[in-house]
Symmetry: C2
Subunit: 229 residues, 2 copies
DNA sequence: ACTCCTAAATGAATGGTGTTAATTATCGTT
DNA sequence: AACGATAATTAACACCATTCATTTAGGAGT
C-alpha cells in the first residue's frame, strides 16, 4: 500500500503519518506477515515512508508495541460487566479479554514479549477486574492476587491458542509429523478428539480454567460469608 | 571470564567449547545481564571465544534457546510425582515447574518468546502428567483439555514473573482521564500491597490458580464417580 | 610416520535491525 | 514576513545473527 514516489525531503504539505495510523498499520503488518516479519523498516515501507519518519510519532519500537497493547485493551467492551452478576461478569470479562487478544493473533506474541510501560493503560484491566472482585466480596488483600491468577490464565490461554504448544513447554498438538510420532501415547489419550479440533480444545480448556478460578472465588467468599463478618 | 589472549586461528590443542558449556554460559550471561543484553556475541566473549565458534556446537540462536529450555525442563525432579496421590502430585508438579522457571527468570523471557523445536523434550513431562490424570479417573477426552489449562496457567505465571512491572504501575497520579473511573479505591489498596511484596503476590497467585484447577478436577472426577461412570 | 579427512577455532564479510544526527521543507504563529 | 516547531528525507552508526574461507589440530588408516 501507499506508493513510494520518491518524495522529496522536508515536511510534506499534507500530513502523512499519525500515531494512530502507525499503530493501525502495525496491526495490519502483523496480521499479514506474522510477528517474525515485523520490523520498523517494513512498517515504514507499508506506510510509504522512510523508517526514521516513524520516530516523529513514536518513541521507539517498544513504545509502539505498548500503544498496540493499549488499543487492544481499549477495545474491550465493558458495558455488560456492571450489570451482570459477578460470576457471570468475571466469565464474560475473561472471554472478552481473550477475544481482544486473539483479534490480531500475531500481535499477541509481540505484546507478550515486550515490557509494559505506562501508556499501555493496562491498569484499566485491573480496575475492571478489581471492581468485579470487590463486588463479589473478596477480601481486599486477596484481590490483587486473584487478579493476577486470572490474568495469567487469560494470557497463557491466548498464547496457547495463538501458537499451540509453542512456548514454555509442549502439549501435543499433532499437526507436525515429527511431533506426532514422538508423542504418540499422549496423543492416543486425547485421541481423534485432539487431532480433529485443537482450537476447540484450546477454547474449552480456557473455559475450564476460567470456571475453575471463578469457582475458587465463590468458595472463598462463601467461606468468608459463612464464617464471620 | 575466560581471558581472550589473541588465540591464533585453527583448531585448539585442548577443546574449549562444548554444547553444554555454551548452554551453561548462556544461563549465566542471562542471569547477570538480563535478556536485553543477551546476544551471541556477548555469549562468545564470556566464553573467551569469537562468535562464529559457537556455531560449531549450536545450530543458531533459536536452537541454543531451545537447549536452555530443555535443561530447564530436565531440572524438574519427577521422582515424587508417581508416588504422591494425584492432587498432591499435580500441585507438587506445578510448584516444581514454577520453581524451575523462577530459577532463571531472565531465561524465561527468551524461552517464552522462542518457538519450540524438537530437542526441547518438553513432551516427556506431559506424558507423565497425562498418566497421572488418567489414574485419577479423569475421562480420557478431558485429559488433554485439563493439561492445556494447566499449561496456560504456568505460561501465564511465567510471563507474570518476566514482566512484573505490569501490575505495580497501575495507579500513579490520576493525570489520565481514562484512569479516573470508579474503581480507584481498590487499586489504591492493591497498588500498595503490590509494591510491598510483589514476588510473594506472584507466588500466591500461582498457587491460587493451581489449587483452583485441581479443585475443579477433583469435582469433576468426584461427580463422575458418584454419577456412575 | 605419512596422508587425509574431519573438527574446531579465527578473520572477514553480509544483510538485517533499531536508532540517532543532520538536512530540508512546510505549517502555524507572532 | 520572519521564525520556531514539526515532519519528512538522507546518511550514518552500532549491533546482531549468520556464513564463508582460512588455518590449525586430532585421529584413522595405511
Amino acid at each position: 500500500m501507499s506508493s513510494t514516489p520518491h518524495r522529496v525531503a522536508g515536511r510534506p504539505a499534507k500530513p502523512i503519518l499519525t500515531q494512530q495510523r502507525i499503530v493501525e498499520a502495525a496491526f495490519s503488518l502483523l496480521d499479514e506477515g506474522g510477528a517474525e516479519d515485523f520490523s520498523m523498516g517494513k512498517l515504514a515501507r507499508s506506510l510509504g515512508v522512510r523508517t526514521p519518519a516513524l520516530y516523529n510519532h513514536v518513541d521507539n519500537r517498544q513504545h509502539l508495541i505498548n500503544l498496540m497493547r493499549r488499543d487492544m485493551i481499549r477495545s474491550i467492551d465493558q458495558s455488560l460487566i456492571a450489570v451482570l452478576p459477578w460470576p457471570e461478569a468475571l466469565f464474560h470479562f475473561g472471554q472478552l479479554f481473550r477475544d481482544a487478544l486473539l483479534r490480531v493473533p500475531a500481535a499477541v506474541e509481540l505484546i507478550v514479549a515486550t515490557p509494559i510501560t505506562e501508556e499501555s493503560e493496562s491498569g484499566l484491566i485491573y480496575e475492571e477486574l478489581g471492581g468485579i472482585l470487590r463486588r463479589a466480596g473478596v477480601a481486599v488483600p486477596r484481590i490483587l492476587m486473584i487478579m493476577i491468577a486470572f490474568e495469567s490464565l487469560v494470557v497463557g490461554a491466548a498464547l496457547d491458542i495463538v501458537a499451540p504448544g509453542a512456548h514454555v513447554a509442549v502439549v501435543p498438538e499433532g499437526n507436525s509429523a515429527a511431533r506426532e510420532t514422538r508423542h504418540v501415547e499422549v496423543l492416543e489419550l486425547g485421541g481423534k478428539f485432539a487431532r480433529q479440533a485443537r482450537s476447540t480444545v484450546s477454547e474449552q480448556s480456557f473455559d475450564f480454567g476460567l470456571r475453575a478460578i471463578i469457582a475458587a472465588v465463590e468458595r472463598e467468599v462463601g467461606q468468608r460469608d459463612h464464617g464471620g463478618m
